[in-house]
Symmetry: C2
Subunit: 206 residues, 2 copies
């Protein structure tokens, strides 16, 4: 019982899941710069030291958030077996997941760069491409290219939204063709189309 009490004391009354979900809410409401361990502890009504029981540092916490964000980007299972559609479905689902949380693209990008997580999308994109009969190396490289495009596009879109809400967009920047949701979606789809058609063509010419 002593060990359990001790764990419970260090643990606070919150589970790892509580902590992560509260952090996601703070991220979504205030953005990444305001997601501090101190603010998170205050929201949970515990001392900051209680958080380290679950997450030894902020990078580990952000990796957990990245995994939760991208977990939402799993397309509905479909009877379709066409690799092109499967790949497109993965890209759209991932974009939607990144955009569902404020600064989602930044959290996932930095976790991916750290090698701490966010590897599920790369694995799923690779599998989707590989289902078209491409070799493992080509599939992985194509998935990597798709992922860089998706993260680059979503980061740009979220940065613009944030600057717009802060009122710091340059004069004349707002009516830019990149701005409306519709245009952003079209621009995203066009980039994915080029990458996927490029890959299909790559096979034909080899």
């Amino acid at each position: 019982m002593a060990a359990s009490e001790s764990a419970s004391a260090r643990n606070g009354r919150h589970s790892r899941d509580d902590v992560a979900e509260t952090a996601l809410r703070i991220l979504d409401e205030y953005g990444l710069p305001d997601l501090t361990m101190r603010r998170l502890a205050a929201a949970l009504d515990v001392q900051p030291s209680a958080l380290y029981w679950h997450f030894p540092n902020k990078q580990t916490l952000l990796a957990e958030l990245a995994d939760r964000i991208v977990a939402r980007g799993r397309p509905k299972p479909s009877a379709r077996t066409d690799w092109v559609q499967r790949t497109r479905d993965e890209t759209s689902a991932l974009r939607d997941a990144l955009l569902a949380y404020r600064d989602g693209a930044e959290v996932v990008s930095s976790t991916f760069a750290l090698g701490l997580g966010a590897s599920a999308p790369l694995a799923r994109l690779t599998a989707a491409v590989e289902s078209g009969g491409f070799d493992a190396e080509t599939s992985r490289m194509a998935a990597t290219a798709l992922l860089h495009f998706i993260l680059g596009h979503a980061s740009h879109e979220q940065q613009r939204l944030q600057y717009d809400s802060l009122g710091v967009l340059a004069d004349g920047a707002t009516p830019d063709a990149l701005d409306s949701d519709r245009d952003q979606a079209d621009s995203f789809e066009f980039g994915v189309t080029l990458l996927v058609e490029g890959l299909a063509h790559h096979r034909v010419t080899r």
Copy 2:
């Protein structure tokens, strides 16, 4: 003469060019988070208020830095007229320019998102694609897709370098296929190939 003396006093003894070049050196040496107006003023041996004569705020300064960074990404003029090679030359030159300065991709991405500058690469990429006979709308959309890919790829590469230098990469992250310079260059070229081949194919099938 009074007006001139007054301007000179506010101006300090530094030209706008001095200020921007010193800021670029600080960026390259210490990174974006440490490029503050205070540190810049100290490096120039002036009061922070003297900087605002040239740059009314930090965003305007960063926009100037972004323009200087991408100005280096202008490929050597070539006798080649092939749109594919011209487009590839633009993408490679832009990547090199982003990687030439610490946090270069982040400075250019945020300026581009703010609509404050960094528009030269989009214009040059659009012109390169348009030289292949594509209509203006398709050329602009293709250039936008290329730019998102280039910025996404370069950001990832620079983040990894930075995390590596800080020693915070996750165990097992370092030997990742994305890590070596050679692999990064190959990965970049492959993504550009898919986008350009996709565009060539897009024309064929329309």
